[in-house]
């Protein structure tokens, strides 16, 4: 049984508030042969500048240090690629650093940027993430991704990361899903939802108008996961500008407060040891006493069914931002839907639903922009950009892109950034005739989760409109 000390569980205290001022993203696609990575990075930076009516040169004058998220030197085939990007953005001689935490790289980049401003080191920073996964065939790409598992103990086993992940999916499917057809159906609903939302997003590479049956009939990758349950492999970039209060209001009259927290767990699932469940503010100590009775095999925590890193990111982040119940206190979320089943697991880790009951977030219709059962707005819409399944997973960019998407809802500018015909034309994509505005009306607070592999790193980024702050909660 592992225990944590009070010092380890301290709720992070920042020296000053930090604001998200703007953000941007490139087009995302499986391959973009006509552009170098730096061109995509510049595309996303230009979008961020234009979003606050600045020229790139004007915005650059404010930046004091830079944080670059790029998961895999293998994929980029360029060590110190951060220095290339930094030069092409014309940001020398500013201090900059590369950040690598697998699938959570985007979120971790924001985490570093956030701390740089909160500490007073910088008043304005750039967080930029990218990935270029199109320079090797898919099976070699899978080998590279599998190199992010333990190279001696895991990678030789098939060189396929999905496999290291799918054993967890299998356990969750049997213990908490009870191998029910209805649970499998719920997983498929997530794939349909996210690919459907991607249809409204000109940046998205995987839009599809499909049904639950299409998902259930797609090829098996590793049972119960099928091809349409899995995320995309992508190319693209995304960035965010974080500032202190004074600088934020110099750049825009509408910045958002940002909090970023992080958790971790073993790289090998094999090394996990049992522990008590760390509780979120909306949970009680006795709530999980009978978890193993209700779900035989589910009494081992975190076991193979939960992500301790996600739980800890929420543990710190909710208390920093004053979130008690995410479903009540947040207006939308962007989750790391690498697989439909990991999406469900995350609902529980971050307290949208109690452990064992993740599926009800989908089945209730709460996760939709418009609840399909009631026709009313969904209580806590998730992944309106399409997520990793529908929009993209250009690893270093993903967590930043999802944060920018949440910001666009709170700014009330989602339609402006997704509707414009010229953007669809520029990306060579056809805007659907039934294009729908997915703006979450009146959004004030949102969350983006960024997650690595089988749960080695997870970050929680919370955005809050300054007029709608909650009270910090240490309990």
């Amino acid at each position: 049984m592992i225990k944590f000390s009070d010092k380890q569980l301290k709720i992070p205290q920042m020296q000053r508030p930090v604001f998200l001022v703007t953000g941007g993203m490139s087009k995302f696609d499986r391959s973009i042969p006509e552009k170098r990575t730096e061109e995509l990075v510049i595309d996303s930076f230009v979008e961020a500048a234009e979003f606050i009516n600045k020229t790139p040169a004007e915005l650059k004058e404010y930046i004091h240090s830079c944080y670059y998220g790029h998961f895999a030197d293998h994929f980029g085939d360029q060590l110190l690629g951060e220095a290339v990007i930094h030069d092409r953005l014309g940001l020398d001689p500013l201090g900059n650093v590369g950040i690598k935490t697998g699938g959570a790289t985007g979120g971790s980049t924001l985490w570093e940027a956030f701390k740089a401003v909160a500490s007073g080191y910088s008043d304005c920073v750039l967080a930029m993430g990218w990935e270029r996964m199109d320079e090797v065939p898919t099976d070699e790409g899978n080998n590279y991704i599998a190199s992010a598992a333990d190279k001696d103990w895991e990678t030789p086993l098939g060189h396929i990361y999905t496999g290291y992940y799918a054993v967890m999916a299998q356990k969750y499917w049997q213990v908490f899903g009870k191998e029910e057809e209805s649970f499998r159906h719920t997983m498929a609903e997530i794939a349909v939802k996210n690919r459907g939302y991607a249809r409204m997003n000109p940046h998205a590479q995987g839009p599809m108008d499909i049904t639950v049956e299409d998902v259930l009939n797609s090829p098996v990758v590793a049972y119960p996961l099928r091809a349409l349950d899995c995320c995309l492999m992508s190319v693209g970039a995304s960035c965010a500008i974080l500032c202190d209060e004074k600088t934020a209001y110099e750049l825009t009259d509408n910045p958002l407060i940002i909090y970023v927290s992080a958790g971790s767990h073993t790289l090998r699932v094999a090394d996990r040891r049992d522990m008590d469940i760390p509780l979120l503010p909306n949970e009680s100590p006795d709530q999980y006493k009978d978890l193993g009775e209700r779900f035989p095999g589910g009494d081992r925590y975190p076991g193979f069914t939960s992500f301790l890193a996600a739980r800890m990111a929420a543990y710190y982040g909710y208390r920093m931002a004053g979130v008690v119940d995410p479903t009540e206190d947040l207006d939308l979320v962007e989750l790391h839907d690498a697989f439909t089943i990991s999406d469900i697991q995350t609902y529980e880790d971050i307290g949208i639903r109690p452990y064992g009951e993740g599926r009800t977030y989908v089945e209730s219709g709460d996760c939709y922009h418009t609840n399909p059962h009631t026709g009313e707005p969904g209580k806590l819409p998730s992944n309106l950009c399409g997520g990793l399944i529908g929009c993209m997973h250009a690893v270093g960019a993903t967590g930043i892109m999802q944060t920018v998407e949440v910001g666009q809802h709170i700014w009330g500018r989602w339609a402006e950034m997704h509707e414009d015909q010229s953007k669809w034309d520029r990306f060579g994509r056809t805007k659907p005739d039934d294009w729908t505005n997915l703006q979450v009306e009146g959004a004030k607070r949102g969350l983006a989760i960024s997650h690595a592999g089988v749960g080695s790193h997870v970050t929680a980024t919370i955005l809050v409109h300054p007029d709608h702050q909650l009270e910090r909660n240490e309990s």
Partner: protein, 197 residues
Amino acid sequence: MSTAKRGKVRVERGRYRLDGQFHFPYPNDPIRNEDGVLMGITNPRDLTHIHMYGGEAPFFEGLGQGKLLGTRCDNQNCDANGSIFIPFRIHCPDCLGKNTIVDMTETAQKGATVHTFMITERTGAFNTLPKPIRFVNVEFEGVPTILMGYLSVGEPEIGMKVVPIFNTTKPSYTILDLSWVPEGTNESDIPEGFTFG
């Protein structure tokens, strides 16, 4: 290009002694679009990396000898005292003391159970296992951790009793030298080169 002289390495008096060639250069090719416009180039490569097992070397040597080694924290002042680690951990994750190597072969032969599993036809480049691969995550009595491996005979299910088999005939000195089969499997049914240890 011939790779007959592919590099081999020995360690003598704490230094690497290299023999043969560790990389093989190939020429680039242009990549053009349908209009013949240059878009990029291919960058072929073939290289041999030198990788040390350090304190885990006994584990990988042990597999080829039909032994499954784990480690145990014997620090009386550590919360993890008495915890056995498989995967083999050189140092205790709590006190960071040097763990004691323990032979877990018999424990694995008597009481190993499939905690979870998965079956996949998909593999990444450089895979050498026959497809589909049946991953099994195996728990042992008295061990808090759960080891990942692959099943060589039969179909996996949660709760199934399994026993280890080892590539003792021509070991690769990798984790692939350890595999699992259902309890009661006949020696004649296990893959060539493998034994029960």
